[in-house]
Amino acid sequence: MTETRTETREETQKETRQTPVRRPRGPRRKYALLDLAAPVLAVLFAMAVASVALLVIGKNPLAVYGTMFAFSFGRLDSVAAILYKATPLIFSGLAVAVGFRAKLFNIGVEGQYLIGAFCASWVGFAVKGLPAAVHLPLVVLAGALGGALWALVPIWLKVKRGVHEVISTIMLNHTAFLLLHYLIADVFMDKTQVIVGGAGSPRVRMPLMEPTALMPKLHGLADLIGVELPSHSSLNWMLVFGILLAAGLWYLVWRTPFGVELRAVGHSPDAAEAAGINPSAVYFKTFLMSGAIAGLVGLSDLIGHFGYLDIDFPRGYGFTGIAVALVARNNSLGIILAALLFGFLSRGGLGIQVLEKVPMETYVILQGLIILTIVVFWEVIRRYVRARQKREEASADAQC
């Protein structure tokens, strides 16, 4: 809440530069409600547009969306599944949002989390004999380092050679996947797999990680608050970690000197430089931080569910993270909520595939549409607010 208010205040400052009129703070509050309504309206609008696709294939959109809700909220294990699906999205949303704050567009989260997952998996199976209290943090650290490492190249190229990070990170996403393919299939492939029944071929995967490298499940915590999680749920402590990280990043951005530099560079690198901030250094640190957070995206699946890295490791979290960050407008609390929203859409997508025979790609279509509508909505709101303010100022001037 504080976050959105501060942001609007900054916008006001930007505008007053053009029209130096002091404005009472009251009316701004009125429009804050619009900012909160925008994501809700954007999601509804996107669902309405996606209905066209559903109508084309002869489905009743209302029935499909109804199934989506019923399937997602009908049972406790479905709710647990939403939380589980939201976990990686909290991390990817945060990774993208931190970059956005400094006007850096990290489309490379996708590749960074694959490399992060590889590093974590390697530390998870190669290092043996450590107690879990040491091994597990080491695995998480390896994930973050892997992500940061993969972010190092694009930010170096941006700062030193002026290469736009969007294209370089996309190229590195493709490269990361190929590299991962090589590392899993040709270097670290688990040759000790026993094929049950002697039929079929072994999975293309790395060796199993040590039990000490795995993240405990959330069942204990859920019991404490009187909720009995289904035993097959993979919900794990990465969710709590993600929420804490969101809080930590909020503190970093809004309450520390570095946060001030970060936001200053995001608003205007030239002005920041004039104020004695070195934009290149801020870009560098921010992007590496974004990469390190990205390195954690895959961990909930890796150490909370599979326990090994295989060639079919889930992909696409990085792109969903962009949608999460945009819907949340980079706000930490908003990112948690938006991650839950996309967790719900993803779970619901599965539901409509099973129950309504509607392709679950509806979820991907919704993602693209939500990104488009939310940015358009914000632009429309910005114009509306500006027009209203101009009118209010004009009438205030007339009264004077």
Binding site: I167, I170, M171, L172, Y182, P359, E361, T362, V375
Partner: protein, 304 residues
Amino acid sequence: MLSAEMLASAIRLAVPVIITAVGAIYSERSGVINIGLEGMMIAGCFTGAAVAFYAGPYAGILAAMTAGALFALIHAVASVHFRVDQIVSGVAINILAYGVVRFSSLSIFKMATTTPHVDCLPKVTIPGLAAVPWLEPLVSKVSPLIFLAFLLIPFTAWVMNRTVFGLRLRSVGEHPLAAETLGVNVYLMKYCGVLISGALAGLSGAYLSIEHTQMYVEGMTQGLGFIALAAMIFGNWMPLGAMWAGLLFGFAQALSLRVVTEAIPYQFIKMVPYILTIVVLAGFVRRSRAPAAVGVPYERGEAA
């Protein structure tokens, strides 16, 4: 190593990059960054193959261009009229196109990742030259779209430098306010630029699916839309430059397809185009200059 077969293969692989890069020139010269080219290519690939399956290759190619232009229209509305961040809009287009194509593929063919085999355009053989042994692979049984791609280069150069439309398009990308003051319809020019880039990206997608592999396969664009963008930058926003850059990528890819050794794992060979793109963009080869107002949203009547 530098045989005619090799050159022919390089050209075949360069064509999608060249067509899309030329399209990108129209968009960028009008001041709009089009990161969504990849998505428009995917849309072109699938629509081309799907329509070609039912109605033949000519209809397929037209449909692919329409599909690309439709996604470009979304990008234009969002980034020109609503002035949203052009990169964000482009990323959304890529996600949207991927989703729509998978959705359609499942709904129409009950398969998410491929379409059935389709017929291609009749291949062209140049009668006289095909008799020359060294030239034979280059001039016999060539896809007509390859000739079209190379005709696009001088045509685009002519449009940009010798026509009123080209002058207006460039003026909008360099200094929209000045252009508007002189009576140029800035929004219209930007719409034209973006739509042309979408249609050409669709055409390039159709080339991939109808002419090159004769079916749609998911992931067949492999980031070519972004590579095309890089080729355009490397080519200094000029058609001829984009062609050379496209050929460079085609050559690198053809080379990587032919270098089959035990020493280098194939995954590393497949990385070559991506690494090359980064190296090229890093300006280790040369520096280039973008249109002055590229990426900056223009608000009509802002001067007033």
